[in-house]
Amino acid sequence: MRYLVIVCGLVLCVVLYSCSKSSGGPSPGPSTSEFDKTAMLSSYADELIIPAYQKMQQAITELETAAIAFLDNPGSTSQETVKAAYRNAHLQYERIEAFNFGPAGVALLEVNANFSGGLDYSFTQAGELTGFSIDSSTIENNISTGSYDLAVYSRNNFYSQGFPALNYLLLDPHAIEKFKVNTTGRVKYVKDVLARLKSLIDKVAADWGTYRSTFTGNTETNVGSPIGNLVNQFAYEMDLLKGPRIGWPFGKQSNAIPFPLKSEAYFAGMSAALAVENIKSLKIAYTNNGNGKGIADYLKSLGKAELNDDVLSRFDKLIASLEAIPDPLSDAFTSQSDLIDAAYKDIQQLLTLLKTDVPSALGVQITFMDNDGD
C-alpha cells in the first residue's frame, strides 16, 4: 500500500470533503417566466375541468332517463334512444378522462367507469388481451345470483360495471331478448350500474368544489403537483391510445393477431369515434381550448414555441388519421389495417413528444407508470 506509483495524469490529489464546496444538486426545472401559472390553473379548473364534469353529470342523467325508458319497455325504438344517450355519455367521458387525478383519483373513477386494463398487464397468461374487456360472465353471474358489490376493487368487478357493462347490457344485439329472462334481476343490475356510475361522477364533480383551491394554489411542477399531474395524464392518455385503445386490439403486441372484441365499448360500435374524441379532448386539454392559458402557452413562455408547434401539428395529423378510420373499429382492424397502421405511427410520434419532450421542457417527471422493480 505504500508503494505509490506517481504518474502524472494517473494520480490525483484528492481534496477531501472538508475542502470541497457543497454541491447544490442538480439544477431545478426551468425558471419561471412572466407566465401566470395561477391564472392558467384557475382557467383549467373553471373553464375546462369543472364544466366538463357538469356536462358529464348531465349526460349520465340523460342516459339514466333513456335507459329507464328502455328497461320499462325494451324494444328497438327505445334501444335507439338509449344508444344515442349512451354515445353522448361515453363521448363526454372521453372529454374528462385526462383529468384522472385529485377527486377522480379518490373516486377511482377511471377503473370503475371505463377500465382499460391498465398499461402494466396487457395480456393474461392464457394470451388473452385484457384491455377494454367486458366481463360478461361475471355480469351474468351477478345478475343471476343477485349478489354483488360493485365497490369491490378487483379487475372482474371493474369489467362488470361502468361503460363496459352498460354497452353490453343495453346495446348487445341480443340485449332486448336477454331482458326476457330474469327481467327483475337484469333491470336491477342495469340500474345499480347506472346509479354507481352516476354517484361516482357526482362525487368527483362535488369534490372539485373543495379540491379547486388545492389545484389552483400549487404552481409547482413536481411529482403530484397539478401541472405535474396534467402533463402525466397527457402522456398516460397517449399510452392508452397506443395500447388498449388502438395498438393492442389491432395486434401490435400479438404478432398482428387482432382482438376486435376488445375494442373500447365494443357493443356500442363506436370505438373509433371514442378514440377521435379522446385525442381531440386531449388537444383541448393541452391548449386549454386555445384560450391562451394552457400548458401549450406555458411551454411557449419557456421559449419552446417550436416544440409546441410540433406538438400541435402532430395532434392535428393524428386527429385526421383517426378520423379516417371508419366505425366499427373492430371491423376496421382487419378491413382497414393500412389506416390503423398509419394512425398508430402518428400516435407514436405524438406520444414521444408528450411523454418525453414536453415533460422535460416543463421540468415534469413522468411518474404514472408502476415500474418499481421491487
Binding site: 490525483l12 477531501l16 470533503y17 411529482v223 403530484g224 418499481d372
Partner: protein, 369 residues
C-alpha cells in the same frame, strides 16, 4: 467531483492534511484509497450471510405475489429461515454460517409479526382487499397482499428489516468504530476497528468492485441487494451512491493507515448519508402515490415501501437532524396505525405532504422536485 473517479485513474493519492493544517496527533504516512474495497484482512461474511438470508426470506415471501395464484407459505420454513434452523436456505454456506437474522433484528416481534401475518394471509382464499379487510389487490401480472389498512406485508417485511436489521446493525457498528482498537491485528479479520467497519460495509451490500454507474435494474439484484440497490435507485439525487462508496473506501484506507481523524470523518459521512438514503427513499415513496391516482396497487405498494423506510429511520444515528418529535409525527402519518385508504382518499394528499415537509425540513431536498 464524481467525474474524477473515472476508471482510468486507478490510483489516488490521499493528501489529507493538505486541507487542514492542525498538526495534533501522530503523523500519518501518505496512503492510497483504492478504487475497489480491496484491503488486507477484510472479513464481513457474517454480515453478508444475514443479507443473503433476508434475500432468501424475501424471495420466498414474494412468491405469494408473483401471480394471481394462491401460494401458501410454510410457517415452519419461515420460522426456520428467521432463526436459521434446520438448513432452511438454498445456499448451503448460509445454513452453516452460525448466524441468523433474528438475533440482529431490532423490534424483532414486529417484523416477525408481519411475516406471520403474510403466512396467514397466504393461506386464505383470495379475497379482494378493502378498507378494513385484508386481501389482495391486482398489480401488474400478479398481486399484492395487504392488511386491513392497505399495508403490503412483503414490503413491510422487506423494507422494515432493511432498517431494523441491516441499517440498525450498521449504525451500531459504525458508532463503535472510532473507539475500537486499531493496534491488535488479527490475521484474516483485521483489528477490531477494521472488523466493525468491514461488517458495516457488508450490511451495505455492494460488491467490492462496485461500479457507481451501474443503474438500478432488476438484473442487478443478485449483486446489489437492499441498500446497495437503494443508494442509487433512490439516492441518486443526493449522490449517495458516490458519496457512500467513496467514504467506505476512504474510511477503510484510513483505518489501515491509522489515520483516526479521517476514520471518524468518514464514519460520520456514512452515517449521515445512509440515513439520508432511507429518508430519500421514504420521500420518493410518499410522493409517487400522488401521481398514481386510481391505481391502488401502485399507491399502496409505494406507501408500504415508504412505511418501511420511515420505520428504518427509527434506528437513525444520534446525530440525526430528524428530531424525536418529528419522527413521531412521521410515524403517525405513515406508521403501523396509518390507514392507507384514508391517505389516498384525500385528493390533496394533505397528510402525505405533511410527511414530505417534515423530511425536507430535517434533511433538505432529497429528490428532484
Amino acid at each position: 467531483m464524481k467525474k474524477i473517479f473515472v476508471p482510468v485513474l486507478a490510483i489516488v493519492v490521499f493528501a489529507l492534511n493538505a486541507c487542514k493544517k492542525d498538526n495534533n496527533g501522530p503523523a500519518v504516512e501518505p496512503y492510497t484509497v483504492p478504487e475497489t474495497y480491496n484491503f488486507q484482512n477484510v472479513d464481513y461474511k457474517e454480515a453478508t450471510a444475514r443479507v443473503r438470508m433476508l434475500d432468501g426470506l424475501n424471495k420466498y415471501a414474494s412468491k405469494t405475489q408473483s401471480s394471481m395464484d394462491k401460494v401458501t407459505l410454510d410457517q415452519t420454513k419461515i420460522d426456520n429461515m428467521w432463526t436459521n434452523s434446520n438448513s432452511p436456505f438454498d445456499t448451503a454456506w448460509l445454513n452453516t454460517s452460525g448466524v441468523n437474522i433474528s438475533e440482529k433484528t431490532a423490534d424483532a416481534a414486529t417484523y416477525k409479526g408481519y411475516l406471520d401475518g403474510l403466512v396467514a394471509a397466504s393461506a386464505k382464499d383470495l379475497t379482494p382487499a378493502a378498507n378494513g379487510t385484508e386481501g389482495y389487490i391486482a398489480r401488474n401480472s400478479g398481486k399484492i397482499l395487504v392488511n386491513a389498512n392497505g399495508l403490503e406485508f412483503v414490503q413491510a417485511i422487506q423494507k422494515g428489516t432493511m432498517g431494523a436489521a441491516l441499517f440498525k446493525e450498521a449504525m451500531l457498528l459504525l458508532d463503535q468504530v472510532p473507539g475500537s482498537d486499531n493496534t491488535k491485528n488479527i490475521e484474516g479479520t483485521g483489528t477490531a476497528m477494521a472488523h466493525n467497519f468491514d461488517l458495516a460495509f457488508g450490511y451495505f451490500s455492494v460488491p467490492e468492485n462496485y461500479d457507481t454507474t451501474t443503474a438500478f435494474a432488476t438484473e442487478n439484484k443478485p449483486v446489489l441487494l437492499f441498500w446497495g440497490n437503494y443508494i442509487r435507485e433512490r439516492g441518486l439525487y443526493i449522490n449517495a451512491h458516490e458519496i457512500l462508496w467513496k467514504a467506505f473506501r476512504t474510511g477503510r484506507a484510513a483505518i489501515a493507515a491509522n489515520d483516526t481523524k479521517v476514520v471518524t470523518e468518514q464514519v460520520d459521512i456514512i452515517k449521515e448519508y445512509w440515513e439520508k438514503v432511507a429518508a430519500a427513499a421514504a420521500w420518493a415513496y410518499i410522493t409517487s402515490p400522488q401521481s398514481q391516482s386510481g391505481n391502488l396497487a401502485s399507491q399502496f405498494h409505494g406507501l408500504s415501501e415508504g412505511f418501511g423506510f420511515v420505520a428504518s429511520l427509527k434506528y437513525r444515528p444520534s446525530t440525526s437532524t430528524l428530531t424525536a418529535e418529528n419522527y413521531t409525527k412521521l410515524t403517525a402519518i405513515l406508521g403501523p396505525e396509518a390507514n392507507f385508504y384514508d391517505l389516498v382518499n384525500d385528493a390533496s394528499f394533505t397528510k402525505l405532504n405533511e410527511a414530505k415537509d417534515i423530511l425536507r425540513a430535517a434533511y433538505g431536498q432529497l429528490q428532484a422536485e
